[in-house]
């Protein structure tokens, strides 16, 4: 059975309930759905982020995320996996990214969801720019993200 895979890159906000329902499609069995939702940092550190701009590489973004989903469906027995990632200007506290995976085995749903997030962080062409009272600056990549992505290599 082939997993149902879907990628959405959009400026609009998204509805968790609708997304989760799209992963089930009448095929829920014992097991379930694991999800991860990322949010824009709230204005609570000394940098005082006022808004965030998400740039991406149209075309490659969708392709690279679909490749990540395909790899996750080869590694684990999934019913479905989906990524929604927002682009453009976002406010503190808003949802940025949603990843969901459904499977008859909860360990597969969890592992796939975490794998997809780790790969997304290091393989998908997005760039964050923060706007604050001292002007704007590009967010630096974190080494820890690369380390987390690498631990999946050579692992089945």
């Amino acid at each position: 059975m082939r997993a149902v895979l879907e990628v959405n890159i959009q400026e609009a906000d998204f509805d968790l309930r609708v997304l989760q329902a799209s992963l089930l499609q009448g095929r829920a069995e014992e097991g379930g759905v694991a999800t991860f939702t990322g949010y824009v940092r709230v204005n609570n550190d000394d940098r005082g982020v006022q808004s965030l701009y998400l740039e991406h590489y149209p075309g490659m973004t969708e392709r690279s995320i679909l490749a990540i989903l395909e790899e996750s469906a080869e590694r684990w027995p999934l019913f479905a996996a989906r990524v929604v990632h927002r682009v453009g200007r976002l406010q503190p506290g808003e949802q940025i990214v949603w990843v969901g995976a459904s499977s008859a085995h909860r360990e597969a749903a969890f592992a796939a969801c975490e794998f997809i997030m780790d790969y997304l962080k290091t393989r998908a062409p997005f760039w964050k720019k923060e706007q604050g009272p001292q002007g704007e600056h590009w967010v630096d990549a974190r080494e820890s993200d690369e380390t987390r992505a690498q631990r999946w290599q050579g692992q089945q």
């Binding site: 990214v97 393989r123 062409p125 760039w127 590009w138």
Partner: protein, 84 residues
């Protein structure tokens, strides 16, 4: 023609989002293209394209190391990604 794209901080440093260049023997692989871009557009380009962590994509796929390029290819240069 070659389509050359720049993103993120690198796009801003170069002040350039997209270039079209005629394919040529002198631009036959990613290393030669990057060196040519650094050489032909002044000091700002030279400095920005010398950054050690620039990622390169060929036809929308990330490439590790060098790769041959040919007429019609889309090449992108960008800093480490920060999505998610």
């Amino acid at each position: 023609m070659l389509q050359v794209l720049f993103f993120g901080r690198l796009r801003e440093e170069l002040g350039c989002e997209r270039l079209e260049l005629p394919a040529s023997e002198a631009l036959s692989d990613l290393d030669r293209l990057q060196a040519s871009l650094a050489r032909e557009h002044g000091e700002r380009w030279q400095a920005a394209l010398a950054a050690p962590n620039i990622i390169r994509a060929l036809n929308q796929q990330m490439v590790q190391g060098n790769a041959a390029i040919s007429d019609g290819d889309e090449i992108a240069f960008f800093p480490p990604v920060t999505g998610g």
